[in-house]
Structures are given as C-alpha cells and as structure tokens.
C-alpha cells in the first residue's frame, strides 16, 4: 500500500522536530507559512514536489527517505542537534550542514549508480572511556595516534594526502564553507556513512589539522553524539584528546626527533658515556660546541614543511617533546610572531602547506569525476549533471566547456 498524505505529514513533522526546527523556521526554508507547514504535517494540505524538495534539504534528508518503507526517525542532522544546543540558533552553520548533507546524499547516490562498492568503514574503533583530566586526554590521544599509525603502516613518515588516506578507510571527506569558529564536523548516518566535513574557508594547514582532528573523533568517539568542533570548546576533554591525536598523527614524536637529529640538533650539550671493562669504568665526555644544538627558526620552518603542518604547531610539538625548553620556545615564538618565520620559509621555499595546495579542491574533484562518469555511463541526465556541478559551484558554461573538451557532449 502506498504512503498516505497523513503519514507523509507525520514523517515531515518527525524530521523537523528531530533537528530542532520550529514550523516557522522550516517554513522559511521551504517558502511556506507556519500555518501551511502545520497543515502539511497534519495531512490536511498537499505538499508539492518543489516544497518537499526544499523541506528535505532543510532537514538534511534525501527526498526519497520520506517514502522509504521504514522511515528513519533520527539521522545525521538529528544526531548533531542532540549534541549541540547552539545549532538551531546559528543559521549560517545550519545552512552549511544542510549543504554538506545534500552533498553526502548525492555522493552516496553516485556511488550506488556507478556500483562502486564503497569500502566498509575500515577504521579501527578505539573503545575509550571519557578522559578524567586534560593530561589523561592528551596521553590517550597520542597513544591512539601511535597505534593508528602502526595499524596503517605509516611508520614515522609524513602523511601525504590526508583526505585520500581517510577515503581509503571508508570515511567520506568534504570541504564546505563553515562559520569561522567551526573547524570541522563529523556526520554519521545509515545513508551517508561517516562523512567528515572541514571548513573550506580555513588555511590549508589548518584544514589538514582539522581533518586529522575529526579523524580522531571518528576513531575514538564514533559511538557518541558528536558536536561540531568549535574554537570555544577546545578545552573540552574530547576536543583536547582529538587535538592531541591530530598532533601526534601528523607529527609523530619519533619522526620529529629523527628529523631534528638529522640536522645535528636536539642533542644534549654534554653527553657522558662510561665504558666498563668488567673491572673498571672509563668515563668519556663529549661536549657539543656552544650553541650548536640550538634549534633555529629555519629548523622549525623545515620541520613544518616536512610534515605539512604550521610552523606554530611544529614549535609547540618540539616544545612538548622537550627538544626545546620554555626559554627557547619563547624566543622562537617571538621571532615567528614578528613575521621572521614566513620570510625564512619563503627563502627556503618551504611553505607550511605543500607548494601546490589542492586539498580544498580534492572533494570537488572527486565529486565531479563521479558525476561525469555517471553521465558518461548514462546513469544520470545532463540536467542532473548540471545540478550536481552547481552544488560544487561549477557554472553551466564551465560544465558545457568541460563536456565538449571531454567529448561527452
């Protein structure tokens, strides 16, 4: 038996309520009055396809979900709303979330049409209790990062394309313009799987850190209702743990130490060795030349460039690894704050992000490639292709030119 209008109305109300929208707010998104939304939900007014399309977008759902045999009452957006009471009040974030979910649904659909067997979520899940203190959170985050690096066979080397690594683990990644105070968020539901979204407005090194931070949440907090990662929440224990994970995952302690030692730095200024011959010991002392072990700002620039991190996070990393003391840290930070770090990085051709930073475009490129392939295989129409292209800000003229040059027109 087909769905009744009353049942469709009930499902719309359930979807609206589960993501904390009032009838008035939903009406604003769908171009309807509060009264009309009430009538639709009660099944006393029909809803048009245009209105239903907008309603689905507003509540972060695929329009098909309203007609599914069994309706999923709570989805990714509902989970986020449960975890973050501020969400409904932050209109720009809600819009970004709606756009992210729409992209997630279309991505899922394209993979299904192309019969791409989306890898199961391959990531390990680290069952951890809530940390008791910030210290505990840092230790746990670092430990999980080390284990995850081992599991992935990364050794102590820098990670190249982080989003590619996550995708290979079955985690979808995307970049969407989020409000300035949100670095990233993780959406999880049965349709789109695990979808990590980072703030496309942030600089490349920050986006990279955010991606690692969200990956930390995926590994350690998957079972919890995950709130967006906000700047003002950075002291929360789960955020501290995810940050510690990101730092260790991107710049593993052993890798950093090896890198610094390779420059002949980071050693003690005086080293003593006792050579024992089963009767007596001979004391040998080696003194480094004064100042030779001091880490300079150009060392920090090279370290940051090597691991694809910011100079400031590299600076904190070597301080935390006790490769520099507080006095040296302050000296280097003052130099960095004065702009010297940037000058040195330019001189060394060692920018923080890879020279050709394409991470912002990674998702767009992947999404468009899938859409083009679906069009080539005649799984979607030209008009659908144009809609998908518009979702990642590609205009009709640019699309037309791309199709012509690829001989797909």
């Amino acid at each position: 038996m087909g769905l009744t209008r009353e049942e469709l109305g009930r499902r719309i109300r359930s979807a609206r309520e589960s993501c904390g929208l009032t009838q008035e707010q939903l009406g604003e998104f769908a171009g309807l009055s509060r009264v009309a939304v009430g009538q639709i939900e009660a099944g006393t007014r029909s809803v048009s396809s245009l209105e239903l399309d907008r309603i689905a977008h507003a509540v972060g759902r695929d329009i098909k979900s309203f007609f599914a045999e069994s309706f999923v009452e709570r989805d990714a957006l509902a989970a986020l709303f449960r975890s973050d009471a501020q969400l409904a009040e932050q209109g720009d974030l809600l819009k970004a979330l709606q756009d992210s979910l729409a992209l997630g649904h279309e991505l899922t659909n394209l993979e299904r049409l192309l019969e791409i067997d989306r890898v199961q979520l391959l990531t390990a899940s680290y069952e951890l209790a809530i940390p008791k203190s910030r210290w505990d959170a840092i230790q746990l985050g670092q430990k999980v990062a080390t284990e995850e690096r081992q599991r992935l066979g990364l050794g102590v080397a820098p990670i190249g394309d982080l989003s590619e690594l996550l995708e290979a683990q079955g985690v979808r990644t995307g970049a969407v313009a989020l409000p300035e105070n949100i670095s990233g968020l993780t959406l999880v539901d049965d349709t789109i799987g695990v979808f990590v979204v980072i703030n496309a407005r942030h600089a490349a090194v920050r986006r990279r850190f955010s991606l690692a931070h969200e990956y930390g949440h995926v590994l350690m907090d998957r079972g919890r209702a995950l709130a967006p990662s906000r700047a003002e929440n950075r002291s929360d224990l789960l955020e501290v743990r995810a940050n510690a994970f990101a730092a260790e995952f991107l710049m593993p302690a052993e890798g950093v130490e090896q890198f610094v030692l390779a420059f002949g730095k980071g050693g003690a200024s005086r080293t003593q060795i006792a050579v024992f011959d089963e009767a007596e010991a001979v004391q040998v002392e080696q003194r480094a030349a004064p100042g030779s072990q001091d880490i300079q700002l150009y060392d920090v620039a090279l370290l940051a460039h090597h691991f694809g991190a910011s100079r400031i996070s590299a600076l904190y990393r070597i301080k935390n690894l006790r490769l520099i003391d507080e006095r040296e840290f302050q000296r280097l930070k003052t130099e960095e704050d004065s702009g010297a770090g940037q000058t040195i990085a330019n001189f060394l051709a060692a920018p923080e992000a890879p020279l050709e930073d394409t991470s912002r475009e990674d998702f767009r490129r992947r999404f468009l490639a899938l859409a083009l392939e679906a069009y080539r295989r005649e799984e979607i129409t030209r008009s659908k292709l144009a809609e998908l292209a518009a979702m990642v800000h590609l205009g009709r003229n640019e699309l037309g030119a791309a199709l012509a040059s690829a001989k797909l027109d």
Binding site: L8, S46, S48, S49, L50, L52, I63, I380, T381, S383
Partner: protein, 169 residues
C-alpha cells in the same frame, strides 16, 4: 484547466521551451488544436535567461500555457525516485506524465529518454521537431518557416536528424 477527451495534454520540459523561446515560437503552443501544454513549476524555475523568463511568464499569464504541480502521493513518490538520475524539471515532467497518463515534450536523449520510454512509452514523447511538424500540419507555419527555425536551432547546438521538414510530410 479546460480540456476534453480529445485534448492531448503535454507536460513540457525546459529544453523544448527554450528551443521555442530561441526561435520566438512559444505562442505556437497555444495555437495547436487538440493540444494543451503544461509546465511544472520546477521547469519554470529552470528558465533563467531574463528575456526568456519574461516571455514564459507572459505565456503563463495569458493562459495558453498551464502550470502543473506534482502533488499527488503517487506522483511525489515517483518524483522522489526519479531525482536520483535526473534534474528537478525532468523528474517533475515525467512524474506528471506517468501518473496523469499524458504526453511529455522533451528533447532529452539517453538516460531520460530510456526511463521515459519505460514509464510512458515512445509514442507519448514529443520533441521540438514534432511540435513544429504538427504546426505545419495544422497550417500554423509553413515548411520554409520551419526549415528556417531548424537552421536557427542548429546554430544553437540543437540539430534535427533530417534535411527538411518536407521530408517528413
């Protein structure tokens, strides 16, 4: 909308409307006897060129084009299913045509046409050239005029697979 048993109702997609707008022949849709052309609201939204939008609005206001809405449960469900593979306007046209048992006017080929044939059958799909041919048959335009339109559309990357409309008569 006033239709009778002999009237063929045609739900019209944006590509056909745009073709007719390009050659200034949108009013032809109101002049064909026994045809009633409807435009879903999604299709209206897809006509974005300001001059074309104005001409379409005038046609809707004059009443020779009717506006259609996908709002029955059956058509909504089909619309939702079709959205995976086609644009909003196409999905609305096909959902309406399939559930109302009427014709569709669309120049789309490949995936859309395959699905349209599955849902409503080939005989209920009209193309721009089919509309111009019907206009010739009803004496609304001459073959020479139609061939001129064919040429103008070819310059806009829409080609018809024949030399002249006279070949079809």
């Amino acid at each position: 909308m006033a239709t009778n048993a002999e009237t063929i109702v045609v739900v019209t997609d944006a590509n056909v409307l745009i073709n007719l707008l390009r050659i200034g022949q949108l009013p032809l849709l109101g002049k064909l006897d026994a045809y009633r052309f409807l435009v879903p609201e999604e299709v209206v939204a897809e006509v974005t060129d300001p001059d074309q939008r104005e001409a379409l609005s005038s046609a809707l206001a004059a009443g020779y084009l009717g506006q259609a809405v996908v709002d029955t449960m059956e058509s909504l469900q089909l619309f939702a299913e079709l959205r995976d593979m086609m644009g909003r306007g196409e999905a609305a046209c096909l959902a309406l045509a399939a559930t109302m048992g009427c014709h569709i006017a669309s120049d789309e080929k490949k995936r859309f046409r395959r699905r349209a044939v599955e849902l409503i059958g080939e005989e209920r799909i009209l193309r721009t050239e089919g509309i111009l041919l019907e206009a010739i048959r009803q004496g609304r335009i001459s073959v020479a005029e139609a061939d001129g339109f064919k040429e103008a559309l070819a310059a806009n990357r829409y080609s018809m697979p024949f030399q002249s409309f006279s070949d079809l008569l």
